[in-house]
């Protein structure tokens, strides 16, 4: 294929991605280095239905000139990245200097908003991803062996958790795990603890979110592995049986290596998606116990009355950097393979 032919085929796709993703990423990176202008304020009085109170307001005439001069704002360099709502470099230096032991350092760092979110995000990513792969594989292997007239409905129901939008799925489960809901009541019965409440305890909320994550993503892994199982080369399998391998050894030495590329694909997608976890935190009203990087962006942009664009931009860039770091091992492996093929 010539360069010209390549471009002719791919230009619409590249254009769409460039316009709607690449350019905004550059713009977000640029914006993360700016903060708002210093607001010039005047003391005024605000009168409303409940009386007059002395307030402070922004002096529009003075601000107009300032905004015209530099519309992007004040250049802040990388300070937004290091301020206390993000990497908090100054605060960490102070914590390490004044703390007595490692436990105190750890507690105080986890109190910082970015690190609190990061801990949950990383825990979620590294607990849910392997569980999804393992469960998906087990379900695929088992479904592959049931009689074929049952396969249709089973696959059909197995896909349900994946195809429902996270906002709605987590809401449905939130209604159910309430201590008076069907799942909540069942758990209270199971553990013989009438005061058990999944929502009240931070640890249990984390567990609920992890379980939700696995429940929601396992069907994706299941479908991928199930498809792969259909194409396991039968001669290798048969020769292993002739050699006296039992079920477990067949799976371990023939099936698993064959499915490894698929597992890599699932791991890639899962690492990326789990690192950006956000909707379940809203759906489960879990923000008391768990926040994530994407949730921090959400609060900066949508919960605040005046959106903090610079802060949200910095957290977004940190999210992208985080994803890249997570993907590096997988990418290096793929790069070697790719270059071998090419």
């Amino acid at each position: 294929m010539t360069h010209k032919e390549f471009m002719a085929f791919i230009w619409p796709s590249l254009l769409a991605m460039a316009l709607f993703i690449a350019v905004p990423i550059v713009s977000v990176a640029y914006q993360s280095m700016f903060v708002e202008h210093e607001q010039i304020m005047i003391e005024t009085e605000t009168c409303g239905p409940f009386g007059c109170t002395p307030e402070v307001a922004v002096d529009q005439d003075a601000m107009r000139k300032v905004r015209e001069d530099s519309p992007a704002g004040r250049f802040n360099g990388l300070d937004t990245y290091t301020n206390s709502s993000h990497l908090a470099t100054d605060e960490i230096t102070e914590i390490v200097a004044t703390s007595e032991n490692f436990g105190e350092i750890r507690d105080r760092i986890m109190n910082l908003p970015f690190y609190k979110a990061l801990i949950f995000t990383l825990s979620y990513t590294f607990i849910v991803t392997p569980l999804v792969i393992v469960f998906g594989f087990i379900i695929a292997v088992v479904v592959n062996s049931i009689p074929s007239f049952l396969k249709g409905p089973v696959i059909f129901f197995s896909l349900l958790p994946m195809i429902v939008t996270p906002l709605v799925g987590s809401l449905v489960l939130f209604w159910m795990i309430d201590s008076r809901g069907v799942v909540g009541a069942f758990l209270q019965y199971l553990f013989a603890d009438p005061s058990l409440s999944l929502k009240a305890s931070p640890t249990l909320t984390w567990v609920t979110l992890f379980v939700y994550g696995v429940w929601h993503s396992a069907p994706f892994a299941f479908v991928v592995f199930y498809a792969g199982l259909q194409t396991v080369p039968s001669d290798t399998l048969e020769s292993s049986m002739v050699d006296g391998a039992n079920r477990w050894e067949q799976i371990r030495f023939v099936v698993m290596p064959y499915l490894l590329p698929l597992a890599t694909f699932v791991a890639l997608m899962q690492l990326m998606d789990n690192f950006r976890i956000f909707e379940p935190i809203i759906g489960f009203s879990a923000s008391a116990s768990a926040t994530s990087l994407s949730y921090l962006i959400y609060t900066d942009l949508r919960e605040a009355e005046t959106p903090l664009f610079g802060s949200a931009a910095a957290t977004s860039m940190l999210t992208i950097i985080g994803v890249i770091i997570l993907l590096l091992p997988v990418l290096f492996r793929n790069a070697r393979e790719f270059n071998r093929k090419a």
Binding site: M1, E5, F9, I10, P12, A16, M17, F20, I21, P24, I25, I139, V143, N144, S145, V154, I155, F156, S158, L160, P161, M162, I163, V164, T165, P166, L167, V168, V172, R180, V182, A185, W215, V223, V224, A227, Q230, T231, S234, G244, N246, R247, Q250, P261, F265, M269, M272, F275, F278, S294, I297, L301, R302, A312, T319, I320, I324, L331, A335, A342
Partner: protein, 300 residues
């Protein structure tokens, strides 16, 4: 290719009965966990709020005393009537239909062309384009869409369905390209090379030799595109107006806000209504999803 053969001349056949029982039990437990929440919600959508969200006894959702007290019958269509007729959920359903169909078609067109190019190019920079696509996918959608608001208002394209369609196509291109590129890798090069030897241009080779055999993978990727567009909340909630809204933002609006009352049963009925088309979809296309993924994701 069944993994657990039960032929009697297989020496390990005796163990397979216990294994078969275990695997059936496992499947049943998994099915229960997977399907129960939705069956419960579907059942509850025909009850009154006092029953489905009963704090007195969760069994009320099954027996339905409040429903009988309020409406005279054990089941009620109040939730559906309220959502579909009073709140005009049918408009949202129509909007979702338009958006997902257009997004899927456009996404696949761009994706097949791009994926084919990436699969056949053999250039070094192809790898970097794919990596870039992955990095693009990593960007949180909240930030992206918040950034779109001002330019869209300035260009006066905010609030229209076509704008949202293009945005959804673009945001989902990375995933589409990855899936289709790995699928095309598995179609033998000889097919289109033979066509080109016979005098076709690259595009003609694509059209005559590749398109007839690419359907399984395209259907699979199309389904994932469909799901991504159908289930999207962030983009559609911020880029559409009240009358233009698709189903998921509309359901969100039924839930009410801090200061204002919501109609929770309308949301429950709407949620069930939103899932039904997906059921139908999966029923029809499960074979294609599976076979498409076989060829598509193996090289992933």
């Amino acid at each position: 290719m069944a993994l657990f053969q039960t032929s009697s001349d297989n020496p390990a056949a005796q163990k397979s009965t216990a294994l078969a029982v275990l695997s059936v039990a496992f499947v049943l437990v998994w099915l229960f966990i997977a399907a129960f929440p939705f069956l419960w919600t579907a059942w509850g959508s025909f009850k009154a709020e006092g029953d489905f969200f009963s704090r007195a006894d969760w069994m009320n959702a099954i027996t339905g005393p409040a429903t009988t007290a309020q409406t005279g019958g054990a089941f009620t269509l109040d939730g559906y009537r309220g959502a579909w007729i009073e709140k005009e959920f049918w408009r949202a359903a129509m909007n979702t239909g338009i958006v997902t169909l257009c997004v899927t078609m456009i996404s696949l067109t761009l994706g097949t062309l791009g994926g084919y190019a990436l699969a056949r190019s053999g250039f070094r920079y192809t790898f970097w384009i794919l990596i870039a696509a992955l990095v693009f996918r990593a960007m949180p959608h909240v930030t992206l869409v918040s950034g779109y608001l001002l330019p869209f208002f300035q260009l006066n394209i905010w609030g229209y369905l076509p704008t949202t369609i293009i945005v959804l196509v673009a945001i989902n291109q990375p995933f589409t390209l990855w899936m289709l590129h790995s699928f095309f890798l598995s179609i033998p090069k000889d097919l289109d090379e033979a066509a080109m030897v016979d005098g076709c241009t690259r595009f003609q080779a694509f059209r005559l030799a590749i398109i007839p055999v690419m359907w399984p993978g395209v259907v699979t990727t199309g389904l994932f595109s469909f799901l991504l567009a159908y289930n999207d909340f962030t983009t559609t909630s911020m880029l559409l107006t009240e009358t233009n809204a698709t189903m998921i933002p509309k359901i969100n609006s039924f839930l009410g806000s801090t200061q204002e009352e919501g109609k929770v049963m309308y949301a429950v009925a709407a949620v069930v209504s939103a899932i039904i088309p997906l059921f139908v979809l999966i029923m029809f296309f499960q074979r294609q999803i599976v076979s498409g993924l076989t060829a598509g994701a193996v090289k992933g």
